[in-house]
C-alpha cells in the first residue's frame, strides 16, 4: 500500500455548461519519507492539486488516499505551507506556532507545548524573533515561521505550495537548503509544488511535471539520482542534473506545453488623423479634436 495515493482525480470549476476542467486524470503515488516535487506552469492547477491532498477541496472524481484512508477534510496530519505564509498578523511568531501546537496536542502540559514550539523555532533559526509580529519580519523569515508551524504539528506529510515563490533569488537559495536540511533530519514525506525546475531538482528525490492547463495532468515522473548533499554550484556541471532538467523541460515545453489556438478577431486600430493647425480656434480657444477614422481589420492571432 502506498503512503499517499492519488488515482484518476479530476477537478473543474463552474456550473455545468460553462465548466472548465482544471485537472484531469491525475495519478500519483508517494512513498513514506519521500521528497517529491511537482513542477508546472503558473495557473495550471498546482494549488488546486495541493488543496485536494490537504482536504481543503474535494475531487470531482477519483480518490485521494493517505495510508489507504480516503481524505475527506483538512487535518493537521497533512500540514500545508502556503505561498503567502498565512500567518495571523495579530499573533507573534511564537503564538502563531503555539496556536497550532495547542490545537494538535491539547493533552500536553504547557511546558511541553512550549518546548515543542521552541524546538521548531530553533530548527528554522528563528529563536531570536520569537516575540516579533509577522509584519516586523522579512518575507523569508515569515516563510520560515510558516514552515516551523507546519513541522511543529508533527504532521505525517508536509505540503509546500510554492513556499518560496514570493521570495528573492538569494533568500530562495538559502531556504531551499534549509528545507532540505530539515527534511534530512526527520525524513518526513514532502510534496513540494513549484514553478522552478532547478528548485525541484535541487531538493527532491523525484520530480514530476504538470502540463499546462486547462485540463492539466501529470507527466512522467523523473527520478533525481544525484547524491546528497547537493552543491548548487557543482550542480550546473553535473551530467545527471542536466539529464533530469532536459527530461522535465522537454515534457513541459513539448507534449505538456501550452496548447496554442488560432483565433480570428476583428480588431479596431487606433487610427487618428492629426490635429489640423490651420483650422481657426473655437470660442473657448480649443481647436477641434483630432478625428478618428474607425477602421476594422480581420486578423488572426495566436493565443
Amino acid at each position: 500500500m502506498e503512503f499517499l495515493e492519488i488515482k484518476g482525480v479530476s477537478k473543474g470549476y463552474g456550473l455545468p455548461g460553462s465548466r472548465t476542467e482544471v485537472l484531469r486524470d491525475i495519478n500519483l503515488s508517494v512513498e513514506e519519507g519521500e521528497f517529491v516535487a511537482i513542477v508546472g506552469y503558473s495557473g495550471a492547477g498546482k494549488t488546486t492539486l495541493i488543496s485536494m491532498i490537504s482536504g481543503l477541496l474535494k475531487a470531482d472524481s477519483g480518490s485521494v488516499k493517505l495510508r489507504g484512508e480516503e481524505i475527506m477534510e483538512p487535518s493537521p496530519e497533512r500540514a500545508v505551507v502556503f505561498q503567502n505564509y498565512s500567518l495571523l498578523p495579530w499573533l507573534t511568531v511564537f503564538e502563531n506556532v503555539a496556536l497550532a501546537v495547542e490545537q494538535v496536542f491539547p493533552a500536553w502540559s504547557q511546558a511541553k507545548q512550549r518546548e515543542q514550539v521552541e524546538k521548531y523555532l530553533a530548527m528554522v533559526n528563528l529563536t531570536p524573533a520569537a516575540g516579533k509580529l509577522p509584519r516586523e519580519l522579512s518575507g523569508g523569515m515569515r516563510q520560515r515561521v510558516s514552515v516551523a508551524r507546519a513541522l511543529a504539528t508533527e504532521a505525517k506529510i508536509l505540503l509546500l505550495d510554492e513556499p518560496l515563490g514570493a521570495l528573492d533569488a538569494l533568500t530562495r537559495a538559502t531556504l531551499q537548503d534549509e528545507i532540505v536540511r530539515i527534511w534530512e533530519q526527520d525524513r518526513r514525506t514532502i510534496v513540494l509544488i513549484t514553478n522552478d525546475v532547478d528548485e525541484g531538482i535541487l531538493t527532491a528525490d523525484r520530480i514530476i511535471p504538470l502540463s499546462a492547463g486547462p485540463g492539466a495532468t501529470l507527466g512522467p515522473s523523473v527520478a533525481v539520482d544525484i547524491a546528497r548533499p547537493r552543491d548548487r554550484r557543482a550542480l550546473n556541471h553535473d551530467p545527471a542534473f542536466k539529464h533530469v532538467r532536459k527530461q522535465v523541460l522537454d515534457y513541459l515545453l513539448g507534449p505538456g506545453g501550452r496548447q496554442k489556438t488560432l483565433v480570428s478577431r476583428k480588431l479596431s486600430l487606433p487610427d487618428l488623423l492629426p490635429e489640423n493647425l490651420n483650422e481657426p480656434r473655437t470660442l473657448f480657444g480649443v481647436r477641434r479634436k483630432p478625428r478618428r477614422r474607425s477602421e476594422e481589420k480581420l486578423e488572426t492571432v495566436e493565443v
Binding site: P76, W90, L99
Partner: protein
C-alpha cells in the same frame, strides 16, 4: 518664511488665520450695536440703540461671550434642572449617549457578524436594513414612545426614574447609531482573507475557536472604524432626542434657550456639541489605531 518653516509654525498659524476669517464673517453677519442720539416729535433728545447687520438677531461674538460666561466659568454649577454649567450638561448628554451607544454595539456587532457570515441572511435582511438606515432620529422617537409606552420604573418615593420617554430616547440613539457598526462588521467579516480561514481549517479549529482566534481579531480594525462612525452618529442624535424630550443636557439646554430668546447661548451649545464630537472622534481614532493589524 524660513523661520516659519523651521518651527513648523504654519500648522499653528494657518488654523489661526482660518479662525480669524471665521470670526470676521460672523462679525459682518451679526453687525454692530449703534447708539444714536435723536430728537423725538416732542423735541426731547432720546438715545436709541440700533443693531445693524445682515442678520440683526444673530448675537455678536462679544455678546455670545458675555452671555456664556457664567456657564463656562462655573462649568459644573447646578442652579436648576435646566440651568447648569456647560460641562454638567455635557456630562448628562454623554451618559445618555453612552447608554444608547452601548445598546447599539451590543445588538449591532453580532448582527454584523451574522450578516458577514451568511449570504442567505444578508439577502434576507439587506432590504430592511437599507430602508431603516436613512430614517431620521426625529422619525424614530415617536415610534419609540409608542413601543415603550408602558415602561415606567419608579423609585421608593413614587417618582418616575425611567419612563417611556427615557426608553424612547435610548431606542432612538441605539437604532440610529447602530448601522455603521453593523455594516462595517459585516464588511470586515467578509474581508477576512481566505488564507486565515484555511489555516483554521487545516488546524481543525472548532467553530468557537475559529471565531475568537481568527475571525474576531481579523475583523477588529473594520469593527472599530464602524464603532467610531457609530459614536459620531449617536452624538448627532442626542441633540434631536433632548429637544424632543426636553430632558436636561446640551441639546435640551439649546432648545430651552431658543424658546427663551437668548440666542447667544445657542451658539455656546453648538460650539460645545462640536468640540465634544471632535474629542470623541479623536479618542475613538486612537483606539482604532491601536487595533490596526498588518
Amino acid at each position: 518664511m524660513a523661520f516659519i518653516k523651521r518651527y513648523k509654525l504654519d500648522s499653528l498659524l494657518l488654523p489661526l488665520i482660518g479662525l480669524g476669517a471665521f470670526l470676521m464673517l460672523w462679525l459682518v453677519i451679526a453687525g454692530r450695536i449703534e447708539t444714536r442720539k435723536a430728537v423725538d416729535e416732542f423735541g426731547d433728545p432720546v438715545t436709541k440703540t440700533v443693531k445693524t447687520g445682515i442678520s440683526p438677531d444673530l448675537p455678536t461674538p462679544g455678546e455670545t461671550w458675555k452671555a456664556s460666561k457664567p456657564y463656562l466659568v462655573e462649568p459644573f454649577a447646578k442652579r436648576g434642572e435646566l440651568d447648569q454649567g456647560i460641562l454638567a450638561f455635557t456630562k448628562l448628554s454623554l451618559i445618555l449617549v453612552m447608554q444608547g451607544y452601548l445598546i447599539a454595539l451590543l445588538i449591532g456587532t453580532p448582527l454584523g457578524f451574522f450578516l458577514g457570515l451568511s449570504k442567505a441572511f444578508t439577502k434576507a435582511m439587506d432590504p430592511i436594513i437599507q430602508v431603516l438606515r436613512p430614517v431620521s432620529p426625529l422619525a424614530w422617537f415617536p415610534l419609540g414612545l409608542v413601543l415603550f409606552s408602558s415602561v415606567k420604573l419608579m423609585d421608593g418615593g413614587g417618582k418616575t426614574v425611567f419612563g417611556a420617554s427615557d426608553a424612547a430616547a435610548l431606542f432612538t440613539i441605539a437604532i440610529c447609531s447602530m448601522w455603521p457598526a453593523v455594516m462595517n462588521t459585516a464588511v470586515g467579516v467578509r474581508a477576512v482573507p481566505q488564507d486565515y480561514l484555511n489555516v483554521a481549517k487545516v488546524l481543525k479549529l472548532s467553530k468557537a475557536k475559529t471565531l475568537f482566534k481568527v475571525l474576531l481579531p481579523a475583523t477588529l480594525p473594520y469593527m472599530f472604524t464602524g464603532f467610531r462612525l457609530s459614536l459620531g452618529i449617536a452624538w448627532l442624535v442626542i441633540v434631536a432626542v433632548e429637544m424632543l424630550t426636553g430632558r436636561p443636557g446640551v441639546g435640551g439646554f439649546l432648545w430651552q434657550e431658543y424658546n427663551a430668546g437668548s440666542y447667544s447661548r445657542i451658539i455656546l451649545c453648538i460650539l460645545t456639541i462640536g468640540v465634544v464630537g471632535l474629542v470623541l472622534d479623536r479618542l475613538m481614532s486612537l483606539v482604532e489605531a491601536r487595533f490596526k493589524t498588518a
